[in-house]
Symmetry: C2
Subunit: 202 residues, 2 copies
């Protein structure tokens, strides 16, 4: 059976659990405590040399890291990956936007504030993270003013990728009340068939 | 004709020019001076609200940002995108690795040192960027010790994505002499048919 090395509170890991559940894949999870550094043990680094969760491990022992690549892999042949080339490219556009302009700001601020409880140690860096994160949220809100989902007006892995850290952005000190279109979209994503919460244990 | 909004010295833009050339696409380029902030004008932000190059503009005026999405789009149906699902996922794995763990360290250090000529203003941040960048280069070197190219032993858009900033990493203060397998791979990439240098004007 497919194994997901996963941290329960990590949005990147939640993306994978959510996608696999909605794609109807059977899998088991192995918890990795990232605050305790379990992703940097020799055993874990043999599975993913960059020392990050999530990774999936196939039956033959081979692994696939990077949440975006995992979402791509297991969405093929499902409605979560569009059929048209331009729509596929737009899904990837939003997934690369998430990993470059969104996650490094929103997820990292959330990690400092919510997991390390160390907001006071990172005050200066948080000013930058929050400005850049607000900018990413602004781009999303602007797009969602005229789109029900990110690509082709239907739910895809682009929505899964962006939902994971956006819906918990308040844990990093972001004020989602400023982004009403994001709030409506969060509700739409949570109403999709087979949706699971970040807290749900797989 | 396809238009690429591009900065000549940007690795992300070079990826797109290199791929389009090797894929046999006709295109014209519009130079964007990022040091002067031309990517933050209202005109540019209307094309890409996150204010980054490259973007491609199609004949109908619609645009596609994010170098990774552009590489995906224009590699479809060419040998630069593999046919098997697992290989496709591995190509994206390395492209997400590049955008998250490689580019934010190596490209940013290069921008500060080579373009802004402001190494002394960023000394503290450069220590972190160089440690993280060396870690990414180490992961690449380890992989290339047993692989001629990143995926399936053949040249793909994963190689294009990683080549762009790696082959100029010395401009950010990185010492590629420490990574002999990367050096051999750089030579192999530069020998591919229809290769163009970063300096080549399209």
């Amino acid at each position: 059976m497919l194994t997901v090395y996963s941290n329960q509170g990590s949005g990147n890991c939640y993306k994978v659990r959510l996608l696999l559940t909605q794609a109807g894949e059977s899998f088991r999870t192995v918890d990795v405590d990232v605050v305790a550094g379990e992703q940097r043990t020799p055993d874990f680094l043999a599975r993913n040399p960059i020392g990050k969760v999530p990774i999936v491990e196939f039956d033959d022992g081979s692994t696939l890291p990077e949440s975006g690549a995992i979402l791509y892999h297991f969405s093929q042949g499902t409605p979560l990956w569009p059929a048209e080339r331009l729509h596929q490219s737009q899904v990837l556009q939003w997934m690369f936007f998430e990993q470059y302009s969104h996650e490094p700001n929103i997820a990292v601020a959330r990690y400092w504030c919510h997991f390390l409880k160390a907001e006071s140690d990172y005050q200066e860096q948080l000013v930058v993270k929050r400005a850049n994160g607000d900018r990413a949220l602004g781009v999303m809100d602007h797009h969602l003013a005229t789109h029900s989902f990110f690509v082709a007006q239907r739910y895809s892995i682009a929505d899964i990728a962006l939902y994971a850290y956006t819906h918990v952005a308040h844990q990093g000190g972001f004020d989602l009340d400023r982004f009403p279109h994001i709030q409506s979209w969060i509700d739409r994503v949570a109403q999709q068939p087979a949706h699971i919460s970040m807290e749900h244990r797989c």
